[in-house]
């Protein structure tokens, strides 16, 4: 083993570009999740989802108007602006 090869041991390497096949994994993940929900509904009809069903009532009355989706978008926009300022100022 040459000295150049040994110098790479212990380094973290990350490519600049994202391989297109990585999106396939994400799509498979989404499809599997949706399939799980369908299967759960077939196997346990009428049963609430564990954990999620106990969290959702906390938001009852909050998202009962469509305006909340728009406000959510505006909040994402606000964080996008803030994130842009922070990342642009600190990027090398």
């Amino acid at each position: 083993m040459s000295s150049d090869d040994s110098s790479k041991i212990g380094q973290f390497l990350q490519g600049e570009k994202e391989p297109s096949s990585s999106w396939v994994i994400l799509v498979i993940g989404v499809v599997v999740t949706l399939s799980f929900l369908v299967i759960y509904n077939i196997l346990y009809p009428g049963q609430d989802l564990p954990v999620i069903s106990s969290l959702l009532p906390m938001f009852e009355g909050v998202f009962d108007s469509g305006i909340w989706f728009f406000i959510l978008g505006a909040m994402i926009g606000a964080f996008a602006i803030l994130g842009t300022i922070l990342t642009e100022a600190t990027i090398e």
Partner: protein, 559 residues
């Protein structure tokens, strides 16, 4: 004597005296006042002045950047106001926190954020760059310009809080906000006048428009108090329109005319028309704005009075408002023709800011006429069009004041910061979202308002389903302005760090609709070819001409 005339005479006299003093100076006192003002702007701030470096152009940059943030906040507040107009209980869950959002209060907060936060900061920021450029000197105090921007933002925050809750702990919140605002205005005026005093160059018309915009607002307030009209409904209506005509209209006119010439590379089309805008702004009553002067009343800490108009005041007010069409037409024509140069097309259409200026100049005339109708309707006591006053006011803010001031700021920012926005394509997308959302959203809301007026006149008590649907669609479409503001913000902030430097070569056009070839049939100029949308990669193809005499086409060629 009439209320309008007596107030205007004082206003005109003070403006004239100010102009003479600015031109001639204060004689022996000039040096003393200049030294003392410079001391107040920097040394008197103590350690505060050391917080900022005071680099050249930093003042304009900081003001414009904060204005962009206010653009986003004002669009969000206005959007929520439009939504609550058709769904008043949409945010009822916030009552758990002790907040009761009401559509009219959110419009009020949105107007403070839009007028003083967004437009005001663009106006002052652009002015801090344009005036020293025209005078060929440096700004008197960059440090003060940077520091005051934060105080101005603080004043807007106070004003917005006051718009939701007028009194907190017995204190008039809006009045406190106004006091901070006036303090900053005084510092900015002193800064700009000191810059003017340091130059011997003859100031061009846009520079005078910016100066009159700055000094006109406090002079309008002084004139109204001096004439004693401040406690009458008419006096309050007048001070609202005089402040609007000077600080907003005059300043924006100066910035737009400068940016139209600077951005297109064409000389200002007409100096005479620019002069007409200056005189017309001062010697007429600008109809742009709401019929209700509540913003001026609250900011000056006055008690709102009913609008009682004598016959003479009605005639004079209506005449002077009709006369304001002259500077409005002059400004619109001067901007539009300057942008086009000698061609039928806008020069540099892809340059960020140019589409906004073009759009704002187009909207000046129809909305100027619309506002004139609404104002004369109120002044004459007819009050048939009061129902669309608010939406006309919003249209003026979102399709004239914001586009023109934003366009000017986008043209000025690269010179002040040294870099262009990150992407011209994203700037154009933001323009379409912002302008399209504002025009379509607010026009649909205006249609709903007109339907409501018609039903009210017909004594129909049941609410109209069509009106409700239009109002709902209008509020959703207006969300485009929120998206446009977000895209503009991220594009500008990224551009400050990674945008192309202005010292590099000229940015090639990035339009996706650039023609691949340009047929050259006759001798033409490079300017005309570029104005047709051609870019550097477009092939200029000479079209061959034949001297053979034309004949009828033979239908049976093969025979």
């Amino acid at each position: 004597m009439d209320t309008i005339l007596s107030t205007l005479v004082i206003f005109w006299a003070l403006i004239t005296i100010s102009y003479v003093v600015i031109q001639k100076g204060l004689g022996a006192f000039g040096q003393v006042v200049r030294g003392m003002s410079l001391f107040m702007l920097e040394k008197a701030l103590g350690p505060g002045a050391d917080l900022v470096e005071g680099r050249k152009g930093s003042g304009a940059k900081v003001w414009i950047i904060q204005g962009v943030v206010w653009l986003f906040l004002s669009s969000t507040l206005t959007f929520i106001g439009l939504w609550l107009a058709h769904d008043p209980i949409a945010l009822h869950t916030l009552t758990a926190w002790g907040y009761h959002p009401v559509s009219s209060e959110l419009f009020y907060a949105g107007k403070f954020a839009a007028l003083f936060g967004c437009v005001g900061m663009f106006i002052i920021g652009s002015g801090l760059h344009i005036l020293p450029k025209l005078l060929e000197v440096d700004l008197a105090s960059e440090k003060n310009a940077v520091l005051t921007s934060f105080a101005w933002t603080l004043s807007i925050i106070i004003l917005i809080i006051g718009s939701q809750n007028h009194f907190i702990l017995g204190l008039d919140v809006i009045l406190i906000g106004t006091a901070v605002n006036l303090l900053v205005s005084t510092a900015i005026i002193a800064n700009q006048l000191l810059t003017k005093a340091a130059s011997n160059v003859v100031l061009a018309a846009p520079g005078w428009l910016i100066i009159f915009g700055l000094i006109g607002n406090p002079i309008a307030i002084i004139a109204t108090f001096a004439s004693g009209a401040y406690d009458t409904g008419l006096g309050q209506w007048l001070v609202y329109h005089l402040s609007g005509a000077t600080f907003f209209f005059s300043s924006i006119a100066g910035i737009s005319l400068y940016s139209a010439s600077f951005g297109s590379g064409n000389a200002l089309w007409s100096r005479t028309l620019a002069g007409v805008v200056i005189l017309g702004t001062i010697f007429t009553i600008n109809p742009l704005g709401s019929v209700d002067p509540i913003m001026a009343v609250d900011m000056l800490g006055l008690t709102s009075a009913d609008l009682v108009v004598s016959h003479q005041d009605n005639v004079l007010g209506s005449f002077l408002m009709a006369l304001a069409a002259v500077p409005i037409i002059a400004l619109s024509a001067n901007i539009l023709i300057t942008l086009r140069g000698t061609d039928a097309f806008v020069e540099n259409p892809d340059s960020a800011g140019i589409p906004e200026i073009n759009f704002g100049a187009w909207m000046l005339l129809p909305l100027g006429i619309g506002a004139l109708f609404v104002q004369t309707d109120t002044l004459s006591g007819t009050n048939e069009l009061t129902g669309i006053s608010n939406i006309i006011d919003l249209l003026i803010i979102w399709t004239i004041l914001i586009p023109l001031s934003l366009g000017g700021a986008l043209q000025v920012l690269p010179s002040a910061s040294g870099r262009y926005p990150l992407s011209q394509n994203r700037a154009r997308l933001s323009f379409w979202l912002l302008s399209g959302g504002a025009v379509l959203g607010l026009i649909l809301t205006m249609m709903s308002d007109i339907a409501d007026i018609a039903l009210k006149n017909a004594l129909v008590e049941d609410p109209s389903a069509l009106s409700h649907s239009l109002r709902k669609a209008g509020s959703v479409i207006f969300y485009g302005t929120v998206l446009g503001a977000i895209f503009h913000s991220t594009n500008i902030f990224s551009g400050l760090y990674r945008g192309e430097k202005i010292s590099s070569a000229t940015t090639p056009s990035s339009t996706t609709f650039a023609p691949s070839s340009y047929p050259l049939t006759t001798a033409t100029t490079v300017r005309r070819i570029l104005a047709s949308g051609a870019v550097l990669d477009t092939a200029v193809v000479p079209t061959l001409e034949s001297n053979v005499r034309g004949n009828p086409t033979s239908l049976n060629e093969e025979e």
